[in-house]
Symmetry: C3
Subunit: 274 residues, 3 copies
């Protein structure tokens, strides 16, 4: 298994990541595809997957692809952070949360710094961190079955993925706060009207229509697209890194708060009863 360039490999070559099959990287028509592949768990993102995705983005930034695509396998795009990340690990709580904050920060930084056009195919419901980083994508195509939900407050936590900065910019503070602070779940059409999503397609034709567009776009001169994307991001990148650092700092404190501890205990006790 390797993360090197796909040159020499056939189309749609499958490249597993070193540690697991939960994140799969394929390549086709000058497009690198990073797929969350944990459908039985609604593509919830484990601690390992954060690291795998960070590595996959670093590899894609250097391979010979023109566009990089992010999507999920199965009915969900991603249910977000796997809360078992906080119950399955060893060491002190302080140490675990410090590591988690650093891993999250590196993960988000790899989106901020990604140098080529980055497109999300949101094939179904998206939750938490899977929603918030969408503000760092260059295009977001959504199935009409997709929903966008960031229930941070009810878990005692706060927004990440630079959403505290990107969402108010994209949709205005009055719509951003309803999502990020009050936890309102919105539909794909609402997310599109608010600028978070580029376009919505009927679920039946979603893959076909989105891929028709992607393969057409991938034929553009690659350097012009890469340099153009960097231009769009240039006057704001430092702020994004500062926002990411601050969000992770606040979140690390939140994870230790009574509100968060109680919310997560409630979550697992409910799960245990089912």
């Amino acid at each position: 298994p390797s993360l090197t360039s796909s040159s020499g490999e056939g189309p749609a070559a499958h490249r597993s990541l070193p540690e697991s099959e939960d994140v799969v990287v394929t390549s086709k028509d000058s497009i690198t595809v990073i797929t969350l592949n944990r459908p039985a768990k609604k593509n919830a993102i484990t601690y390992q997957m954060y690291q795998d995705i960070t590595l996959a983005l670093k590899a894609a930034s250097k391979d010979n692809s023109t566009i990089t695509v992010f999507t999920g396998n199965g009915n969900y795009y991603s249910s977000g952070n796997d809360l078992s990340n906080f119950s399955n690990r060893s060491g002190s709580l302080q140490q675990m949360y410090a590591e988690s904050a650093l891993t999250l920060r590196n993960f988000v930084d790899s989106f901020i710094d990604f140098p080529k056009p980055l497109v999300a195919l949101v094939n179904g419901p998206a939750v938490g961190i899977a929603v918030t980083v969408l503000g760092l994508f260059d295009a977001v195509y959504a199935s009409d079955r997709a929903t966008f939900h960031t229930p941070f407050s009810s878990l005692g936590i706060t927004p990440e993925g630079c959403s505290s900065y990107t969402f108010p910019k994209i949709m205005g503070p009055a719509k951003a706060a309803e999502m990020l602070i009050f936890g309102k779940k919105i539909t794909a059409r609402e997310a599109c009207a608010q600028g978070l999503v580029t376009e919505v397609f009927p679920h039946n034709t979603f893959q076909k229509e989105a891929w028709a567009r992607l393969t057409a776009y991938a034929k553009n001169p690659p350097k012009a697209m890469r340099i153009g994307k960097q231009l769009l991001r240039s006057f704001g990148k430092e702020t994004l890194h500062a926002v990411n650092a601050e969000e992770c700092r606040v979140l690390q404190e939140r994870w230790l708060s009574e509100e968060c501890v109680n919310a997560i205990q409630t979550f697992f006790s409910k799960k245990g009863k089912l």
Copy 2:
């Protein structure tokens, strides 16, 4: 009458402000409600009311409520600045306008710095300063009878409430300038499409639907909501204060300008004739 925390008081306890009944503060289900209560004058904001609202916001920032709500009593949300503020006071014009600019600046600063989720229930038409500060709220629910009107230029004056900065960010410069420079009045649905309003409800069910949502949201862990809101505002607060200071400085000059003096004279002479 006091502005202290509502702890110990019953639900919906009525707390009048020291100087008048024109601004009323109540408390219910962990929600503090600040109501403009001058329906016979379309809730036009007097010099005293600016100060009362500033105090009410400072008190609400320290009470044990989770969310603070702003609304109007009667058919109007608020017709904005009461122009009699500029005819009923003593001292030199220069002194009066210097005081007015300072009062306005403190008023807007209290919105910028408000530390908890702040929600507007726009129950009817909103004009001028009542519209512009909406860009500083975390959610804005509107009756479909609400309209949004900022006729600054026709009065010879310029935008305040940080709208010269927040409105272009929220709706783009081409829609913001039509409102703020050309004085276009927009409907609740237009304001919602442009991101100034979070959601519009039919007038008949407005209170019921908005309050159902508010009482649900108020049950979220309060610290997570407060810290989350502060995160959303953190990378922009200094700019907002600078914008507010600049807007008030420009406005103080405008009030003394021939354009403004003529417009206000015309306003009162028309009123006198009716």
Copy 3:
């Protein structure tokens, strides 16, 4: 021919620019109108026209008009940069592109610094630079026959007109990048939903409705409108100038790139065959 104030001239006085009839300046009801007048070439902008428009904006900033309007004569608003700009001139390529970058930078600066309300009447399709500078206007009224197309990447080039900064602010990065990086052409209604366009009118009534609005707006006190507009632009002007400089720097490099040279050769060889 002169660019001085229209005072003393009759309504709709026609003022040709020094060098050509391709840019025409007229004056009516306190409104200065700058018209792209090269309908046989879809109002493509020649090297000379960039300079004429820059001069026309400087003149309009000092004349006694209240509002300045930009529009196109014929079926097109403007097909953007005339690519023959890069084939018809003498000197080394390096020199030509350095001059072109400087001319473009001055052209865009004159929009950034324009001190009065600036309104575009987009009477038909708009392409490239004619689209990108719209982010610097205070109102954009569009015929429903207008379209908005920025096919930069396919030509091997990158965005200008400050669009790399203004478009993500106006419509969010996911819609901005689809236009600016992937070259998606959008309709007037889409551009309006995304905040680039203020309002869309049916083509048959476009001129009538837009002009009814403009003549009404032009009756507002002019200083209040001018100072109000400057307030809206004040906290961002330095960034816009920096963005413009960077976009022109990148573009100057791009024009010499293999991707761009090939794309322009293909363009002209296709044209030759038709």
